[in-house]
Protein backbone atom coordinates (compact mmCIF):
# COMPACT_ATOMS: atom_id res chain seq x y z
CA UNK A 1 0.00 0.00 0.00
CA UNK A 2 2.78 2.35 0.97
CA UNK A 3 4.73 1.43 -2.14
CA UNK A 4 1.68 2.11 -4.33
CA UNK A 5 1.34 5.54 -2.76
CA UNK A 6 4.95 6.45 -3.45
CA UNK A 7 4.72 5.07 -6.97
CA UNK A 8 1.62 7.19 -7.70
CA UNK A 9 3.24 10.30 -6.22
CA UNK A 10 6.46 9.75 -8.15
CA UNK A 11 4.66 9.35 -11.46
CA UNK A 12 2.64 12.50 -10.75
CA UNK A 13 5.80 14.39 -9.77
CA UNK A 14 7.52 13.47 -13.04
CA UNK A 15 4.47 14.64 -15.02
CA UNK A 16 4.42 17.92 -13.07
CA UNK A 17 8.10 18.55 -13.78
CA UNK A 18 7.92 17.87 -17.55
CA UNK A 19 6.99 21.46 -18.52
CA UNK A 20 9.96 22.82 -16.55
CA UNK A 21 12.21 20.31 -18.29
CA UNK A 22 10.83 21.39 -21.67
CA UNK A 23 11.47 25.08 -20.96
CA UNK A 24 15.13 24.36 -20.17
CA UNK A 25 15.65 21.84 -22.95
CA UNK A 26 14.15 24.03 -25.64
CA UNK A 27 15.83 27.14 -24.31
CA UNK A 28 19.32 25.66 -24.38
CA UNK A 29 19.08 23.59 -27.56
CA UNK A 30 19.62 24.68 -31.11
CA UNK A 31 16.66 25.21 -33.43
CA UNK A 32 17.67 22.07 -35.41
CA UNK A 33 17.65 19.89 -32.32
CA UNK A 34 14.18 21.06 -31.31
CA UNK A 35 12.70 20.36 -34.72
CA UNK A 36 14.56 17.07 -35.27
CA UNK A 37 12.24 14.17 -36.19
CA UNK A 38 13.44 12.04 -33.28
CA UNK A 39 13.20 13.32 -29.72
CA UNK A 40 16.48 14.48 -28.20
CA UNK A 41 16.22 14.19 -24.46
CA UNK A 42 18.82 16.84 -23.71
CA UNK A 43 20.80 19.08 -26.12
CA UNK A 44 24.10 17.41 -27.05
CA UNK A 45 25.99 20.63 -26.48
CA UNK A 46 24.31 23.25 -24.36
CA UNK A 47 24.17 26.51 -26.27
CA UNK A 48 25.07 29.04 -23.63
CA UNK A 49 25.44 31.63 -26.37
CA UNK A 50 21.61 31.59 -26.53
CA UNK A 51 21.73 33.77 -23.40
CA UNK A 52 23.97 36.36 -25.05
CA UNK A 53 21.80 36.36 -28.18
CA UNK A 54 18.65 36.76 -26.10
CA UNK A 55 19.87 39.72 -24.10
CA UNK A 56 21.37 41.51 -27.10
CA UNK A 57 18.44 41.04 -29.48
CA UNK A 58 16.86 44.47 -30.06
CA UNK A 59 13.59 42.88 -31.25
CA UNK A 60 13.03 41.22 -27.85
CA UNK A 61 12.94 43.89 -25.12
CA UNK A 62 13.52 41.27 -22.43
CA UNK A 63 15.66 43.33 -20.06
CA UNK A 64 13.36 46.32 -20.27
CA UNK A 65 10.23 44.23 -19.68
CA UNK A 66 11.83 42.33 -16.78
CA UNK A 67 12.72 45.63 -15.13
CA UNK A 68 9.16 46.86 -15.68
CA UNK A 69 7.72 43.69 -14.15
CA UNK A 70 10.05 43.94 -11.17
CA UNK A 71 9.21 47.60 -10.53
CA UNK A 72 5.48 46.92 -10.85
CA UNK A 73 5.57 43.83 -8.61
CA UNK A 74 7.66 45.51 -5.89
CA UNK A 75 5.56 48.69 -5.88
CA UNK A 76 2.30 46.74 -5.84
CA UNK A 77 3.46 44.48 -3.02
CA UNK A 78 4.75 47.31 -0.83
CA UNK A 79 1.83 49.57 -1.70
CA UNK A 80 -0.79 46.94 -0.98
CA UNK A 81 0.73 45.96 2.35
CA UNK A 82 1.01 49.61 3.36
CA UNK A 83 -2.44 50.81 2.26
CA UNK A 84 -4.46 47.70 3.01
CA UNK A 85 -2.65 47.05 6.29
CA UNK A 86 -3.42 50.53 7.58
CA UNK A 87 -7.02 50.38 6.38
CA UNK A 88 -7.51 46.91 7.84
CA UNK A 89 -6.22 48.06 11.20
CA UNK A 90 -8.39 51.16 11.21
CA UNK A 91 -11.46 49.09 10.40
CA UNK A 92 -10.64 46.50 13.06
CA UNK A 93 -9.54 48.68 15.92
CA UNK A 94 -10.57 52.34 15.71
CA UNK A 95 -14.19 52.87 16.79
CA UNK A 96 -15.82 55.47 14.56
CA UNK A 97 -19.38 56.36 13.67
CA UNK A 98 -19.10 55.58 9.96
CA UNK A 99 -16.69 52.66 10.23
CA UNK A 100 -19.45 50.20 9.33
CA UNK A 101 -20.41 52.13 6.21
CA UNK A 102 -16.80 51.98 5.00
CA UNK A 103 -16.58 48.30 5.86
CA UNK A 104 -19.71 47.56 3.78
CA UNK A 105 -18.22 49.46 0.84
CA UNK A 106 -15.07 47.33 1.12
CA UNK A 107 -16.92 44.03 1.46
CA UNK A 108 -19.21 44.86 -1.46
CA UNK A 109 -16.19 44.95 -3.80
CA UNK A 110 -15.30 41.37 -2.85
CA UNK A 111 -18.15 40.18 -5.05
CA UNK A 112 -16.69 41.80 -8.16
CA UNK A 113 -13.45 40.30 -9.47
CA UNK A 114 -11.12 43.01 -10.80
CA UNK A 115 -10.64 41.12 -14.07
CA UNK A 116 -14.30 41.47 -14.98
CA UNK A 117 -14.25 45.25 -14.58
CA UNK A 118 -11.18 45.79 -16.75
CA UNK A 119 -13.19 47.73 -19.33
CA UNK A 120 -14.54 50.32 -16.82
CA UNK A 121 -11.14 50.61 -15.12
CA UNK A 122 -9.51 51.17 -18.49
CA UNK A 123 -11.99 53.97 -19.18
CA UNK A 124 -11.02 55.77 -15.96
CA UNK A 125 -7.29 55.15 -16.23
CA UNK A 126 -7.15 56.26 -19.85
CA UNK A 127 -8.96 59.50 -19.07
CA UNK A 128 -6.30 60.14 -16.41
CA UNK A 129 -3.75 59.82 -19.23
CA UNK A 130 -2.09 56.81 -17.66
CA UNK A 131 -2.08 54.47 -20.68
CA UNK A 132 1.40 52.96 -21.24
CA UNK A 133 2.47 54.62 -18.01
CA UNK A 134 3.91 53.12 -14.84
CA UNK A 135 1.14 54.77 -12.82
CA UNK A 136 -1.52 53.02 -14.92
CA UNK A 137 0.20 49.66 -14.44
CA UNK A 138 0.68 49.96 -10.68
CA UNK A 139 -1.91 52.18 -9.03
CA UNK A 140 -5.28 50.60 -9.98
CA UNK A 141 -4.08 47.27 -8.53
CA UNK A 142 -3.21 48.70 -5.11
CA UNK A 143 -6.69 49.05 -3.69
CA UNK A 144 -7.63 45.47 -3.02
CA UNK A 145 -10.78 45.18 -0.95
CA UNK A 146 -9.91 41.53 -0.45
CA UNK A 147 -6.47 42.24 1.10
CA UNK A 148 -7.96 44.93 3.35
CA UNK A 149 -10.65 42.53 4.48
CA UNK A 150 -8.05 39.83 5.28
CA UNK A 151 -6.02 42.35 7.29
CA UNK A 152 -9.11 43.42 9.21
CA UNK A 153 -9.96 39.81 10.09
CA UNK A 154 -6.37 39.21 11.18
CA UNK A 155 -6.16 42.37 13.34
CA UNK A 156 -9.47 41.49 15.03
CA UNK A 157 -7.66 38.47 16.45
CA UNK A 158 -4.50 40.37 17.43
CA UNK A 159 -3.89 40.15 21.24
CA UNK A 160 -5.37 43.29 22.79
CA UNK A 161 -3.08 43.12 25.85
CA UNK A 162 -0.09 44.07 23.70
CA UNK A 163 -1.90 47.13 22.36
CA UNK A 164 -3.10 48.17 25.82
CA UNK A 165 0.45 47.98 27.17
CA UNK A 166 1.52 50.30 24.36
CA UNK A 167 -1.36 52.64 25.18
CA UNK A 168 -0.23 52.86 28.81
CA UNK A 169 3.25 53.73 27.56
CA UNK A 170 1.67 56.76 25.89
CA UNK A 171 1.52 55.58 22.29
CA UNK A 172 -1.45 56.64 20.13
CA UNK A 173 -3.04 54.49 17.41
CA UNK A 174 -0.30 55.42 14.96
CA UNK A 175 2.57 54.61 17.30
CA UNK A 176 0.89 51.40 18.48
CA UNK A 177 0.43 50.22 14.90
CA UNK A 178 3.99 50.82 13.76
CA UNK A 179 5.88 49.91 16.93
CA UNK A 180 3.79 47.04 18.33
CA UNK A 181 1.31 45.63 15.82
CA UNK A 182 3.43 45.53 12.65
CA UNK A 183 6.59 44.06 14.25
CA UNK A 184 4.46 41.35 15.85
CA UNK A 185 2.67 40.51 12.60
CA UNK A 186 5.67 39.93 10.34
CA UNK A 187 4.57 36.43 9.37
CA UNK A 188 1.16 37.61 8.21
CA UNK A 189 2.61 40.53 6.25
CA UNK A 190 5.13 38.18 4.64
CA UNK A 191 2.40 35.69 3.70
CA UNK A 192 0.19 38.30 2.00
CA UNK A 193 3.25 40.02 0.52
CA UNK A 194 4.50 36.88 -1.22
CA UNK A 195 1.07 36.24 -2.68
CA UNK A 196 0.83 39.85 -3.88
CA UNK A 197 4.26 39.63 -5.51
CA UNK A 198 3.54 36.35 -7.33
CA UNK A 199 0.12 37.55 -8.49
CA UNK A 200 1.53 40.85 -9.71
CA UNK A 201 4.45 39.24 -11.55
CA UNK A 202 2.20 36.74 -13.32
CA UNK A 203 -0.75 38.97 -14.15
CA UNK A 204 -1.48 39.35 -17.82
CA UNK A 205 -4.86 40.85 -18.72
CA UNK A 206 -4.38 44.29 -17.13
CA UNK A 207 -0.82 44.88 -18.43
CA UNK A 208 -2.00 43.72 -21.87
CA UNK A 209 -4.78 46.30 -21.79
CA UNK A 210 -2.81 49.21 -20.37
CA UNK A 211 0.79 48.75 -21.58
CA UNK A 212 0.27 49.51 -25.25
CA UNK A 213 3.75 50.91 -26.02
CA UNK A 214 6.62 48.46 -26.14
CA UNK A 215 8.51 50.47 -23.51
CA UNK A 216 5.78 49.78 -20.95
CA UNK A 217 5.46 46.02 -21.57
CA UNK A 218 5.79 43.71 -18.61
CA UNK A 219 7.58 40.42 -19.18
CA UNK A 220 4.27 38.53 -19.59
CA UNK A 221 3.11 40.92 -22.32
CA UNK A 222 6.48 40.65 -24.06
CA UNK A 223 6.39 36.83 -24.00
CA UNK A 224 2.80 36.78 -25.21
CA UNK A 225 3.53 39.16 -28.07
CA UNK A 226 6.26 36.89 -29.37
CA UNK A 227 4.20 33.79 -28.77
CA UNK A 228 1.33 35.08 -30.90
CA UNK A 229 3.64 36.62 -33.53
CA UNK A 230 4.04 34.86 -36.86
CA UNK A 231 7.80 34.37 -37.00
CA UNK A 232 9.54 33.42 -33.81
CA UNK A 233 12.78 31.93 -32.71
CA UNK A 234 11.52 29.05 -30.60
CA UNK A 235 14.60 28.44 -28.50
CA UNK A 236 15.00 32.14 -27.75
CA UNK A 237 11.38 32.31 -26.63
CA UNK A 238 11.82 29.37 -24.26
CA UNK A 239 14.99 30.82 -22.84
CA UNK A 240 13.13 34.08 -22.22
CA UNK A 241 10.43 32.08 -20.44
CA UNK A 242 13.06 30.42 -18.25
CA UNK A 243 14.51 33.82 -17.37
CA UNK A 244 11.01 35.13 -16.57
CA UNK A 245 10.34 32.28 -14.12
CA UNK A 246 13.69 32.61 -12.35
CA UNK A 247 12.75 35.40 -9.88
CA UNK A 248 9.68 33.48 -8.76
CA UNK A 249 11.59 30.24 -8.27
CA UNK A 250 13.86 32.21 -5.92
CA UNK A 251 10.78 33.47 -4.06
CA UNK A 252 9.37 29.93 -3.92
CA UNK A 253 12.50 28.35 -2.55
CA UNK A 254 13.23 31.13 -0.06
CA UNK A 255 9.73 31.84 1.21
CA UNK A 256 7.75 28.65 0.81
CA UNK A 257 6.57 28.67 4.41
CA UNK A 258 4.98 32.10 3.96
CA UNK A 259 3.67 31.20 0.55
CA UNK A 260 1.81 28.16 1.87
CA UNK A 261 0.41 30.24 4.69
CA UNK A 262 -0.59 32.96 2.22
CA UNK A 263 -2.41 30.47 -0.02
CA UNK A 264 -4.29 29.06 2.96
CA UNK A 265 -5.25 32.51 4.24
CA UNK A 266 -6.33 33.92 0.88
CA UNK A 267 -7.97 30.76 -0.40
CA UNK A 268 -10.26 29.73 2.40
CA UNK A 269 -11.41 33.13 3.60
CA UNK A 270 -12.07 34.18 0.02
Amino acid sequence: MKAVRYLALSVAAVVFLIPFYLVLRNGLASEQEITAPSWTFWPRSIRWENFALLFSDPAVPLVRSMVNSLVVAVLQTVGQLLLCGLAGYGLARIPYRYANVVLYLVVATLMIPAAVTFVPTFVVVSSLGWVSDLRGLVIPGLFSGFTTFLFRQYFLGFPRELEEAARIDGLGHWGTYWRIVVPNSRGFFAALGVIAFVTSWNQFLWPLVIAQDQDAWTVQVALSTFLTAQSINVSQLFLAAAVSIAPLVVVFVGMQRFLVRGVTETGIKG
Binding site: L86, I112, V116, T121
Partner: protein
Protein backbone atom coordinates in the same frame (compact mmCIF):
# COMPACT_ATOMS: atom_id res chain seq x y z
CA UNK B 1 -13.74 63.67 16.86
CA UNK B 2 -10.23 62.47 17.76
CA UNK B 3 -11.27 58.99 16.68
CA UNK B 4 -12.59 60.35 13.40
CA UNK B 5 -9.21 61.85 12.59
CA UNK B 6 -7.33 58.69 13.55
CA UNK B 7 -9.77 56.56 11.55
CA UNK B 8 -9.33 58.56 8.37
CA UNK B 9 -5.56 58.70 8.87
CA UNK B 10 -5.56 54.90 8.65
CA UNK B 11 -8.41 54.24 6.25
CA UNK B 12 -8.46 57.45 4.18
CA UNK B 13 -5.73 56.71 1.60
CA UNK B 14 -7.21 53.31 0.86
CA UNK B 15 -10.78 54.62 0.80
CA UNK B 16 -9.91 57.34 -1.72
CA UNK B 17 -8.24 54.80 -3.99
CA UNK B 18 -11.17 52.43 -3.68
CA UNK B 19 -13.50 55.24 -4.67
CA UNK B 20 -11.44 56.38 -7.67
CA UNK B 21 -10.36 53.00 -9.05
CA UNK B 22 -13.25 50.75 -8.13
CA UNK B 23 -16.44 52.72 -7.55
CA UNK B 24 -15.98 55.47 -10.16
CA UNK B 25 -15.26 52.90 -12.91
CA UNK B 26 -18.32 50.88 -11.96
CA UNK B 27 -20.64 53.91 -11.99
CA UNK B 28 -19.07 55.33 -15.14
CA UNK B 29 -19.40 52.06 -16.94
CA UNK B 30 -23.01 51.73 -15.79
CA UNK B 31 -23.61 55.12 -17.46
CA UNK B 32 -21.67 54.15 -20.60
CA UNK B 33 -23.77 51.03 -20.95
CA UNK B 34 -26.81 53.25 -21.70
CA UNK B 35 -25.04 55.27 -24.38
CA UNK B 36 -23.70 54.79 -27.87
CA UNK B 37 -20.03 55.04 -26.88
CA UNK B 38 -17.89 54.07 -29.84
CA UNK B 39 -14.33 55.42 -29.50
CA UNK B 40 -15.36 57.84 -26.76
CA UNK B 41 -15.74 57.72 -23.00
CA UNK B 42 -17.85 60.89 -22.83
CA UNK B 43 -20.74 59.94 -25.10
CA UNK B 44 -23.79 62.08 -25.85
CA UNK B 45 -26.25 59.81 -27.56
CA UNK B 46 -28.44 57.99 -25.05
CA UNK B 47 -29.72 54.64 -26.28
CA UNK B 48 -31.49 53.31 -23.19
CA UNK B 49 -31.35 49.54 -22.85
CA UNK B 50 -30.37 48.91 -26.45
CA UNK B 51 -26.78 47.85 -25.64
CA UNK B 52 -28.15 45.29 -23.19
CA UNK B 53 -30.69 44.03 -25.69
CA UNK B 54 -27.92 43.77 -28.30
CA UNK B 55 -25.65 41.83 -25.97
CA UNK B 56 -28.37 39.46 -24.77
CA UNK B 57 -29.35 38.61 -28.35
CA UNK B 58 -25.77 38.57 -29.61
CA UNK B 59 -24.88 35.01 -30.62
CA UNK B 60 -21.11 35.29 -29.98
CA UNK B 61 -21.69 36.76 -26.50
CA UNK B 62 -24.21 34.09 -25.56
CA UNK B 63 -21.98 31.38 -26.97
CA UNK B 64 -19.13 32.77 -24.85
CA UNK B 65 -21.29 32.15 -21.79
CA UNK B 66 -21.87 28.64 -23.15
CA UNK B 67 -18.13 28.22 -23.55
CA UNK B 68 -17.62 29.15 -19.95
CA UNK B 69 -20.13 26.49 -18.93
CA UNK B 70 -18.42 23.77 -20.99
CA UNK B 71 -15.02 24.79 -19.67
CA UNK B 72 -16.27 24.87 -16.07
CA UNK B 73 -18.00 21.48 -16.50
CA UNK B 74 -14.60 19.91 -17.17
CA UNK B 75 -12.15 21.96 -15.16
CA UNK B 76 -14.08 22.26 -11.87
CA UNK B 77 -14.72 18.57 -11.13
CA UNK B 78 -11.34 17.47 -12.52
CA UNK B 79 -9.38 19.96 -10.41
CA UNK B 80 -11.48 19.16 -7.35
CA UNK B 81 -10.99 15.39 -7.51
CA UNK B 82 -7.31 15.44 -8.50
CA UNK B 83 -6.36 18.13 -5.96
CA UNK B 84 -8.13 16.18 -3.22
CA UNK B 85 -6.40 12.96 -4.31
CA UNK B 86 -2.98 14.63 -4.26
CA UNK B 87 -3.70 16.16 -0.85
CA UNK B 88 -4.74 12.78 0.60
CA UNK B 89 -1.66 11.08 -0.82
CA UNK B 90 0.76 13.77 0.32
CA UNK B 91 -0.88 14.01 3.73
CA UNK B 92 -0.53 10.25 4.35
CA UNK B 93 3.19 9.93 3.78
CA UNK B 94 5.98 11.11 6.04
CA UNK B 95 9.17 10.45 4.07
CA UNK B 96 9.75 13.14 1.41
CA UNK B 97 6.41 14.80 2.12
CA UNK B 98 7.83 18.31 1.77
CA UNK B 99 9.48 17.36 -1.51
CA UNK B 100 6.29 16.12 -3.14
CA UNK B 101 4.27 19.05 -1.84
CA UNK B 102 6.79 21.49 -3.30
CA UNK B 103 6.86 19.76 -6.68
CA UNK B 104 3.07 19.88 -7.04
CA UNK B 105 2.99 23.48 -5.86
CA UNK B 106 5.83 24.68 -8.09
CA UNK B 107 3.69 25.33 -11.22
CA UNK B 108 2.05 28.18 -9.27
CA UNK B 109 5.32 30.02 -9.98
CA UNK B 110 4.51 29.95 -13.70
CA UNK B 111 2.25 32.42 -15.40
CA UNK B 112 -0.45 31.35 -17.82
CA UNK B 113 1.65 32.94 -20.56
CA UNK B 114 4.64 30.68 -19.84
CA UNK B 115 2.39 27.62 -19.59
CA UNK B 116 0.69 28.55 -22.88
CA UNK B 117 4.10 28.77 -24.49
CA UNK B 118 5.06 25.27 -23.35
CA UNK B 119 1.69 23.77 -24.24
CA UNK B 120 1.34 25.47 -27.63
CA UNK B 121 4.91 25.28 -28.92
CA UNK B 122 6.32 22.19 -27.27
CA UNK B 123 3.80 19.65 -26.00
CA UNK B 124 0.84 20.17 -28.32
CA UNK B 125 2.44 21.93 -31.29
CA UNK B 126 0.79 19.56 -33.74
CA UNK B 127 3.94 18.59 -35.66
CA UNK B 128 5.78 15.27 -35.44
CA UNK B 129 8.50 16.51 -33.13
CA UNK B 130 6.03 17.80 -30.50
CA UNK B 131 6.04 15.88 -27.24
CA UNK B 132 2.43 14.66 -27.39
CA UNK B 133 2.80 13.50 -30.99
CA UNK B 134 6.17 11.88 -30.22
CA UNK B 135 4.49 9.85 -27.50
CA UNK B 136 1.62 8.98 -29.85
CA UNK B 137 4.17 7.83 -32.44
CA UNK B 138 5.66 5.37 -29.93
CA UNK B 139 2.26 3.69 -29.96
CA UNK B 140 2.05 3.88 -33.71
CA UNK B 141 -0.62 6.57 -33.78
CA UNK B 142 -0.83 9.40 -36.29
CA UNK B 143 0.08 12.95 -35.18
CA UNK B 144 -2.80 15.21 -34.13
CA UNK B 145 -3.08 18.93 -34.92
CA UNK B 146 -3.97 19.73 -31.33
CA UNK B 147 -4.59 23.46 -31.12
CA UNK B 148 -6.12 23.88 -34.57
CA UNK B 149 -8.30 20.79 -34.53
CA UNK B 150 -11.99 21.62 -34.19
CA UNK B 151 -13.50 18.22 -35.00
CA UNK B 152 -12.89 16.50 -32.69
CA UNK B 153 -12.18 19.61 -30.59
CA UNK B 154 -8.74 18.52 -29.33
CA UNK B 155 -7.95 22.11 -28.35
CA UNK B 156 -10.11 21.60 -25.26
CA UNK B 157 -7.70 18.92 -24.07
CA UNK B 158 -4.87 21.44 -24.45
CA UNK B 159 -6.69 24.15 -22.50
CA UNK B 160 -7.95 21.88 -19.71
CA UNK B 161 -4.62 20.12 -19.07
CA UNK B 162 -2.84 23.49 -19.04
CA UNK B 163 -5.07 24.91 -16.35
CA UNK B 164 -4.96 21.65 -14.38
CA UNK B 165 -1.17 21.76 -14.26
CA UNK B 166 -1.15 25.40 -13.15
CA UNK B 167 -3.82 25.31 -10.46
CA UNK B 168 -3.79 21.80 -8.96
CA UNK B 169 -1.02 22.61 -6.46
CA UNK B 170 -2.83 25.67 -5.15
CA UNK B 171 -6.01 23.72 -4.38
CA UNK B 172 -4.00 20.79 -3.03
CA UNK B 173 -2.54 23.18 -0.42
CA UNK B 174 -6.07 24.26 0.53
CA UNK B 175 -7.16 20.64 0.95
CA UNK B 176 -4.05 19.77 2.98
CA UNK B 177 -4.81 22.69 5.32
CA UNK B 178 -8.38 21.39 5.64
CA UNK B 179 -7.19 17.83 6.32
CA UNK B 180 -4.84 19.00 9.05
CA UNK B 181 -7.70 20.71 10.87
CA UNK B 182 -9.62 17.44 11.27
CA UNK B 183 -9.20 16.31 14.90
CA UNK B 184 -7.36 13.01 15.06
CA UNK B 185 -9.60 11.53 17.75
CA UNK B 186 -12.41 11.24 15.18
CA UNK B 187 -10.34 8.71 13.25
CA UNK B 188 -9.37 6.83 16.41
CA UNK B 189 -13.01 6.55 17.43
CA UNK B 190 -13.88 5.20 13.97
CA UNK B 191 -11.09 2.63 14.07
CA UNK B 192 -12.25 1.41 17.46
CA UNK B 193 -15.73 1.05 15.97
CA UNK B 194 -14.17 -1.18 13.35
CA UNK B 195 -14.11 1.16 10.37
CA UNK B 196 -11.52 0.27 7.76
CA UNK B 197 -8.70 2.72 7.18
CA UNK B 198 -9.52 3.34 3.54
CA UNK B 199 -12.84 4.07 1.95
CA UNK B 200 -15.05 4.02 5.08
CA UNK B 201 -13.14 6.66 7.04
CA UNK B 202 -12.77 8.75 3.88
CA UNK B 203 -16.50 8.69 3.25
CA UNK B 204 -17.79 9.06 6.80
CA UNK B 205 -15.16 11.29 8.40
CA UNK B 206 -12.76 12.97 5.99
CA UNK B 207 -15.23 14.17 3.37
CA UNK B 208 -17.88 15.49 5.82
CA UNK B 209 -15.17 17.25 7.84
CA UNK B 210 -13.85 18.88 4.66
CA UNK B 211 -17.21 20.41 3.80
CA UNK B 212 -16.25 24.07 4.34
CA UNK B 213 -13.03 23.66 2.36
CA UNK B 214 -14.86 21.82 -0.41
CA UNK B 215 -17.51 24.50 -0.83
CA UNK B 216 -14.82 27.21 -0.89
CA UNK B 217 -12.78 25.27 -3.46
CA UNK B 218 -15.74 24.69 -5.80
CA UNK B 219 -16.75 28.34 -5.77
CA UNK B 220 -13.18 29.61 -6.17
CA UNK B 221 -12.83 27.26 -9.14
CA UNK B 222 -16.08 28.46 -10.68
CA UNK B 223 -15.19 32.13 -10.40
CA UNK B 224 -11.67 31.43 -11.72
CA UNK B 225 -13.02 29.48 -14.71
CA UNK B 226 -15.44 32.31 -15.42
CA UNK B 227 -12.54 34.74 -15.68
CA UNK B 228 -10.49 32.55 -18.02
CA UNK B 229 -8.60 34.76 -20.43
CA UNK B 230 -4.84 34.24 -20.50
CA UNK B 231 -4.60 30.72 -21.90
CA UNK B 232 -7.40 31.17 -24.44
CA UNK B 233 -5.75 34.35 -25.69
CA UNK B 234 -2.25 32.89 -25.86
CA UNK B 235 -2.95 29.35 -27.04
CA UNK B 236 -5.71 30.01 -29.56
CA UNK B 237 -4.26 33.26 -30.85
CA UNK B 238 -5.74 36.40 -32.24
CA UNK B 239 -9.33 37.39 -32.97
CA UNK B 240 -8.91 36.27 -36.58
CA UNK B 241 -8.67 32.66 -35.47
CA UNK B 242 -11.64 32.79 -33.21
CA UNK B 243 -14.95 32.00 -34.88
CA UNK B 244 -14.45 28.23 -35.17
CA UNK B 245 -13.08 28.06 -31.62
CA UNK B 246 -14.80 28.57 -28.35
CA UNK B 247 -14.07 31.81 -26.55
CA UNK B 248 -14.79 32.67 -22.94
CA UNK B 249 -16.62 35.89 -21.92
CA UNK B 250 -13.59 38.02 -21.05
CA UNK B 251 -11.98 37.34 -24.42
CA UNK B 252 -15.16 38.47 -26.11
CA UNK B 253 -15.32 41.65 -24.00
CA UNK B 254 -11.68 42.35 -24.73
CA UNK B 255 -12.24 42.30 -28.47
CA UNK B 256 -15.48 44.27 -28.22
CA UNK B 257 -14.14 47.05 -26.03
CA UNK B 258 -10.47 47.20 -27.00
CA UNK B 259 -10.06 45.14 -30.15
CA UNK B 260 -8.73 46.18 -33.52
CA UNK B 261 -12.22 46.84 -34.86
CA UNK B 262 -12.55 50.04 -32.81
CA UNK B 263 -13.35 50.69 -29.18
CA UNK B 264 -16.99 50.09 -28.39
CA UNK B 265 -17.34 51.02 -24.71
CA UNK B 266 -21.15 50.98 -24.75
CA UNK B 267 -21.49 47.33 -25.63
CA UNK B 268 -18.34 46.46 -23.69
CA UNK B 269 -19.73 48.07 -20.55
CA UNK B 270 -23.12 46.43 -20.94
CA UNK B 271 -21.34 43.07 -21.23
CA UNK B 272 -19.23 43.84 -18.14
CA UNK B 273 -22.35 44.71 -16.15
CA UNK B 274 -24.04 41.45 -17.18
CA UNK B 275 -20.97 39.41 -16.20
CA UNK B 276 -20.60 41.27 -12.90
CA UNK B 277 -24.20 40.51 -11.98
CA UNK B 278 -23.69 36.83 -12.81
CA UNK B 279 -20.48 36.57 -10.76
CA UNK B 280 -21.95 38.58 -7.88
CA UNK B 281 -24.78 36.03 -7.85
CA UNK B 282 -22.32 33.15 -7.55
CA UNK B 283 -20.33 34.94 -4.81
CA UNK B 284 -23.45 35.77 -2.82
CA UNK B 285 -24.35 32.12 -2.97
CA UNK B 286 -20.84 31.35 -1.71
CA UNK B 287 -21.26 33.70 1.26
CA UNK B 288 -24.66 32.18 2.01
CA UNK B 289 -23.34 28.62 1.94
CA UNK B 290 -20.15 29.28 3.93
CA UNK B 291 -21.70 31.32 6.71
CA UNK B 292 -24.60 28.92 7.15
Amino acid sequence: MRNGRAFWLFVGPFAIGLLVFVYVPIVWSLLLSFFDARNTVTPTSFVGLRNYADMLTDKPFLSSLGTFSVFAAFIVPLTFVLALALALLVNQISFMQAFFRSVFFLPTACSYVVASLVWKLSIFNGVRFGLANTVLAWFGAEPIAWTVSTSPPWYWLVLVTLRLWLQLGFYMILFIAGLQRIPHHLYEAAWIDGASRGWQTLRHITLPQLQTTSVAVVLLLLVAAYQAFDEFYNVLGTDRGYPPFARPPLIYLYYTALGSGGQDFGHGSAGAVILTLLIAGVTLLQGRVITR
